[in-house]
């Protein structure tokens, strides 16, 4: 036919393009930052919102899912901040960890004073040309991701955190809360640099009002230096109409102990993408997830782990529980580069379907170019075991209670990845709450 094959822009894409053109000059940062924004937006514009034709988005067609691009949230006033924070006071259950609070993507709290930890608001750091801003978006592996590129183009709200060795065993909460009268979008970004030999417990929580169709495209980047230890926990308890895209980008130095655990119960649609690159030998990596879905919820966890250097170990364990007509996606790709000998990588994704109309798409992949490695992956989809259900009921547990115990047992294994007991208690409470709501 010879006709133009230029893709038609969706309403959301058209709005994003207009918005970038209008805002580009007023976004914080010097000309170098401006160039990065333009490059990032060009990358985004080339693909647009990713469709199922892009392999990594095969099960999650964001072009179809993100039909509109609601206006960016306005900066909430003091009264709105107070209301939202009060509403979220109980979530997560109080932890003895200092926190940074965000409302509708805006940093609204004064950074806590923690010895050995520097915290700067992202817009201020960009405006001042802070040296650390050059480390934003450093992970090559994630470069081509359109949603990360979109966040980079607009980045303004968020924080840059630097943890030095002097901090001892530092802890920080990033508490994101969302509530407004009308749908909005937000794109917060947090960069956490953990110096050589430093140690950090990072707890990231996302909550929001139900019935509000807000969109989040959040990015957290972690750069861990040689010998650092980082335990990251992320909770998605967003509102039931939220659309939440999130990116966790991690670069690890030599001999790092890194763990990340994500629990997802919230949002109508979520996509959590994890990019992890090993830049130094001897890293020990644990990545876990527990996802509980009901109604027509949709949740995607997509992991890309790059063993670019020899002698790193990684364990990945993801569990998904699906009720009603919910849909889960797990994609996990472990890349072992040619010279990354003695890599030990094991990935498992298991799904438990509680209802006939629930769907799970599991796609674990290994790309191995080295010849002296130990790698394995597995994926399962199953239902509750009838024999075990009978065993528990025959001991006197009513059906729902027996099922709940089996679900807790199913999710228990990855929850053990979370070292801090107080953080784990929060996760267990969410699991129990989800089960209790099942009735």
């Amino acid at each position: 036919m010879g006709a133009d094959v230029k893709p038609l822009r969706t309403a959301a894409e058209t709005a994003l393009i207009a918005r970038f053109q209008a805002a580009a000059n007023s976004l914080p940062g010097d000309s170098a930052t401006g160039r990065r924004r333009t490059e990032a937006f060009d990358r985004f514009e080339k693909t647009g919102l990713p469709t199922r034709r892009i392999e990594e988005f095969h099960y999650t067609d964001l072009r179809a899912l993100l039909r509109d691009a609601p206006e960016p949230a306005a900066r909430p006033d003091a009264a709105a901040v107070a209301t939202v924070l009060a509403r979220n006071a109980a979530f997560p259950a109080p932890l003895a960890i200092p926190s940074l609070d965000f409302v509708n993507g805006y940093l609204v709290s004064q950074p806590p004073a923690i010895a050995g930890v520097e915290i700067v608001a992202l817009d201020a750091a960009l405006a001042a040309g802070d040296a650390l801003t050059s480390r934003l978006g450093a992970l090559e592996l994630a470069q081509d991701n359109p949603m990360l590129a979109l966040n980079t183009a607009f980045m303004a709200e968020g924080a840059i955190v630097r943890v030095s060795k002097d901090a001892g065993d530092a802890g920080l909460q990033l508490r994101f809360a969302n509530a407004a009268d009308a749908p909005f979008s937000s794109a917060p970004r947090v960069l956490v640099v953990v110096d050589d030999g430093a140690s950090l417990d990072l707890v990231e929580t996302h909550a929001g009002a139900n019935g509000l169709a807000y969109q989040v495209n959040a990015v957290v980047e972690i750069i861990a230096g040689d010998g650092a230890r980082v335990n990251h926990t992320r909770i998605n308890a967003e509102g039931d109409a939220a659309q939440a895209v999130s990116t966790l980008s991690v670069s690890l130095g030599a001999d790092v102990r890194f763990s990340s655990f994500g629990l997802t119960t919230g949002s109508a649609m979520s996509r959590h993408q994890i990019f992890l690159g090993c830049a130094g030998e001897g890293a020990d990596i644990t990545i876990g997830g527990a996802t509980m879905l009901r109604g027509r919820q949709f949740a995607d966890t997509t992991l890309t782990l790059d063993h670019a250097v020899p002698n790193c170990n990684s364990r990945e364990l993801f569990k998904t529980v699906l009720d009603d007509e919910s849909t889960g996606v797990f994609q996990g790709k472990i890349i072992v580069r040619q010279h990354a000998q003695k890599t030990d990588g094991r990935m498992m994704s298991a799904a438990l379907l509680l209802a006939e109309n629930a769907t799970m798409n599991n796609k674990p992949e290994l790309e191995i170019f080295a010849d002296d490695v130990q790698c394995a992956h597995g994926a399962t989809c199953g239902q509750l075991d009838d024999d075990l259900l009978f065993y528990l009921m025959a001991r006197g547990l009513p059906r729902k209670q027996a099922e709940a115990l089996m679900v807790e047992a199913f999710l228990g294994e990855p929850l053990e990845f979370v070292a801090r007991e107080d953080v784990r208690d929060n996760l267990v409470a969410l699991v129990e709450g989800w089960l209790a709501a099942r009735g």
């Binding site: 065993y391 009921m393 001991r395 006197g396 547990l397 047992a409 228990g412 294994e413």
Partner: protein, 250 residues
């Protein structure tokens, strides 16, 4: 205590129990013996309420109440306990957590107050000691990585803690060496009481040397074909089940 009248049970359109009649009195220890495939395990599952079976006809009365319409949890709350031939493993659920859940679920169903943790711990510790179950086992997930003997002892521990009216032991001797068998039998014997009945299902007479029954029933082709005293078990040991298989085939 237990009265089964003309019980007819199918699984996938195949008849397994074929007009079975059985009475077990209060305080009685009744043994059910029979060749493989005679329907012994099916009987234990149907009394406990497993779903895979179709009850075509008959009644199961516990203290005069027909329990066929009740689910397994409701039957358990009425005092039915099945010690499984192959107890299931539950990775991810600690043994103490499990014991607390089942004991309190039954108490709740009976309208009794839930046990406090110290009270529960004390009861479990006392009962565990009698069955040579150490604290280490109680800390592990239920039955996870337990040996065959450990799993059977854990079944008897639960039986002791739940204080059922009717205890059904399904091939409890299978996979046990003689030492483990003695521990399990001692545990069962300690629970014998005028208010508690036992249905001991076994293929071999060996178990009945340690748990001496009041009555012995021979099952073949889905029904009870002979009833006698404990000497009947010895006769079966000497002569085997050949007569009954033949009888069933006729």
């Amino acid at each position: 205590m237990l009265e089964i009248r003309n019980l007819v049970v199918d699984i996938d359109d195949k008849r397994i129990l074929n007009g079975l009649n059985l009475t077990v009195n209060k305080g009685e220890v009744a043994a059910i013996m029979g060749p493989n495939g005679s329907g012994k395990s099916t009987l234990s599952y149907v009394i406990s309420g497993k779903e895979d079976y179709t009850v075509v006809d008959g009644e199961i009365l516990l203290d005069g109440e027909n329990i066929l319409e009740l689910d397994p949890a409701e039957r358990a709350a009425l005092g039915v306990f099945l010690a499984f031939q192959y107890p299931l493993e539950i990775p991810g659920v600690g043994t103490m957590t499990f014991l607390k859940a089942v004991m309190n679920a039954q108490r709740k169903a009976r309208g009794e107050a839930e046990l406090t943790t110290p009270d529960l711990m004390r009861r479990v510790r006392e009962a565990a000691e009698k069955l040579s179950i150490n604290q280490e086992m109680l800390k592990r997930p239920l039955n996870f990585g337990f040996s065959g003997g450990e799993k059977k002892r854990m079944e008897i521990l639960q039986m002791a803690l739940l204080e059922p009216k009717l205890c059904i032991l399904d091939e409890t001797d299978s996979g046990l060496d003689i030492d483990a068998l003695k521990i399990v039998a001692d545990g069962v014997n300690a629970l014998r009481s005028p208010d508690r009945s036992f249905l001991v299902i076994t293929h071999y007479q060996r178990l009945l040397d340690y748990i001496v029954p009041d009555t012995v029933h021979v099952m073949a082709n889905g029904r009870i074909v002979r009833t006698g005293g404990k000497e009947l078990a010895l006769e079966l040991e000497a002569n085997g089940y050949a007569d009954y298989r033949q009888q069933a085939a006729e």
